[in-house]
Amino acid sequence: MAQSKGRFGAFGGQYIPETLMNAVEELDQAYLRWKDDPGFNEELSVLFNEYANRPSRLYYARKMTEDLGGAKIYLKREDLNFTGAHKVNNVLGQALLAKKMGKTRLIAETGAGQHGVATATAAALFGMECVVFMGKVDVERQALNVYKMRLLGAKVVPVTSGTATLKDAVSEAMREWTNRVSDTHYCLGSVMGPHPFPTIVRDFQAVISRETKQQILKREGRLPDAVLACVGGGSNAIGSFYHFIDDKDVRLIGCEAAGRGIDTFETAATVNTGRLGIFHGMKSLFCQNEYGQIAPVYSISAGLDYPGIGPEHAWLHSIGRAEYVPVTDEEAVQAFEYMSRMEGIIPAIESAHAVAHALKIAPQMSPDQIMVITISGRGDKDCAAVARYRGEEIEG
């Protein structure tokens, strides 16, 4: 019996149709071939630094720290990356890998549109064809990002099946990949899906915690007491956690989108409301009904609006190494407004979920403790939706 690959404890694996097995195997082999190759890593570093504006800043949020009166708060500014979010880290890595594999076409799913924009950007840079699948609901609520993708030369396909959001965009991208694997790389945007995606995406996003660790040691001479990040599929969170996993004194806190609350059906808080299952190529935790039908999920944030979580997070949760807390729409919107006024930084509504939890716990921590919050993206794209939430209509 062949051994299942890509396990994090009981989670992960490769639950995909046979038609795709050779494609993921080819990707796995290519990744093993290139991941430690000095030339590949040099090329990627140049792209990160010269093109994507890395390393991202670790900014001491003095006003916020003083206002909350507890832990010293640092912000890991992934929002300052080129294209406005952490997504570019993974995309540049995968696009470079795809190029080494001789692929000429990138396909991707997107929720909020950040990963779609990042993929379209990399495709333009590498001279590749690009097709982005995006739920019809998200196409409507993220019109600016749709325009950007088209401007960058990508084709955006609105997905109308299912709930017409992120999970359906993933399903449609998988279907398209099944249809055409020879020249196409599926540039998956989060630490999810079949092996090797959760590992590849994690490794490319791990640059976040690699930098944070160096920056905080230089600045404070010690490790932080807590690292907070928002979690949908979980790519910015795993990137923020990864190099701290072995540092047992660093609390790792993933902030899930609770939507209208974890006691309602309008939620996307997978760890808090889901259970073990198999979907989109992986064994992990999913929001589902008693018969294993995947539940429609809801969040104000299109980027966290996903019924599952990456398998490595499910594992970190199961062994008690990371905590996963629910944050409601209302709390996220308040944090979005708070950070804008307090620090002059408009965070993505996704990142605002992590900020919201920081607002709860920072005051309970002592001033000699340190907290790092990853601001995974910038919030320009969310202004229209937050305004609407507050009863105001503005041009999106």
Binding site: G13, A23, M174, R175, Q288
Partner: protein, 263 residues
């Protein structure tokens, strides 16, 4: 020999696929009886899944509509239990991993036990490849079900390891992509079945994209049978509750074409 193997013992087989509960279970029952009457050698019964990633638009819609109509895994088990006495050909479930894995409190074990109790002969799980089959294959073996393996045009070096451990029959996927009607099938099916034959005598049936008697005959001529799904679901979409006689007529024409290919 399993009941499934026996279904291939009398010439080339024709295998229709029907989504359970589309448009409702009563109609599904009539369709199964009509399919048997028209010469179906084995019937694939789909348990609908909310997010069927291997299906094209036709079967996706059938899945969604069936679930909207209130069909559940338990209702499908009860339905099979009631109708099994009138169906003499083997019945296999086709579904997705989570439907089985997340069933009841015992998951795959409880699902397979219930399958045995209601008279299901095997399982086809669209998103479980060779590497992940053990946790499904073990309960299948425990309860006497065949775990049906799939082989795709891209399987290449995987063909023989998959085939050497196959039970029941081997589902040969005719083309890349998802399920759905295709005007042309270009894969060299004969070359795939030859490689399978080198390691096993488990029968091979070809599916994905077959809709016409000519295609079915051509696929059956280089294998042991043909599987048709989307073309049947399209008929059900068109005729609704009155679909059974139409599906029966269609299956008869397909079965004749497949039989002729074997003579």
């Amino acid at each position: 020999m399993s009941r499934i193997r026996e279904a291939f013992a009398h010439g080339k087989a024709f295998i229709p696929f029907v989504t359970a509960g589309y448009p409702d279970l009563e109609t599904t029952g009539k369709i199964l009886l009509a399919a048997q009457e028209a010469g179906a050698d084995l019937i694939e019964l789909g348990i609908p899944f909310s997010d069927p990633t291997a299906e094209g638009p036709v079967i996706q819609t059938a899945n969604v509509k069936a679930l909207e109509g209130g069909v559940t895994t338990d209702r499908i088990f009860e339905f099979v239990e009631q109708i099994r006495g009138q169906i003499h050909v083997p019945l296999v479930f086709m579904t997705y991993a989570n439907v089985i894995y997340s069933y009841g409190k015992d998951g795959s074990d409880g699902f397979c036990r219930r399958c045995r109790d209601v008279g299901i002969d095997g399982l086809i799980i669209a998103d479980v490849p060779f590497e992940e089959k053990e946790e499904f294959d073990l309960p299948c073996k425990k309860y006497g079900l065949d775990f049906i393996s799939m082989i795709a045009p891209t399987s290449e070096d995987r063909i023989q390891k998959i085939a050497s451990q196959a039970d029941g029959f081997i589902y040969v996927v005719s083309s890349m992509g998802v399920t759905g009607v295709r005007s042309e099938i270009t894969t060299d099916i004969g070359a795939i079945t030859e490689r399978i034959r080198e390691v096993t005598d488990v029968p091979c049936a070809v599916g994905f994209g077959i809709s016409t008697p000519e295609q079915a005959a051509r696929m059956a001529s280089c294998s042991d049978g043909a599987i048709v799904g989307s073309a049947i679901i399209r008929l059900i979409s068109r005729w609704g509750k009155d679909a059974a006689p139409e599906v029966g007529k269609y299956i008869r024409s397909m079965k004749e074409a497949v039989e002729a290919a074997g003579s």
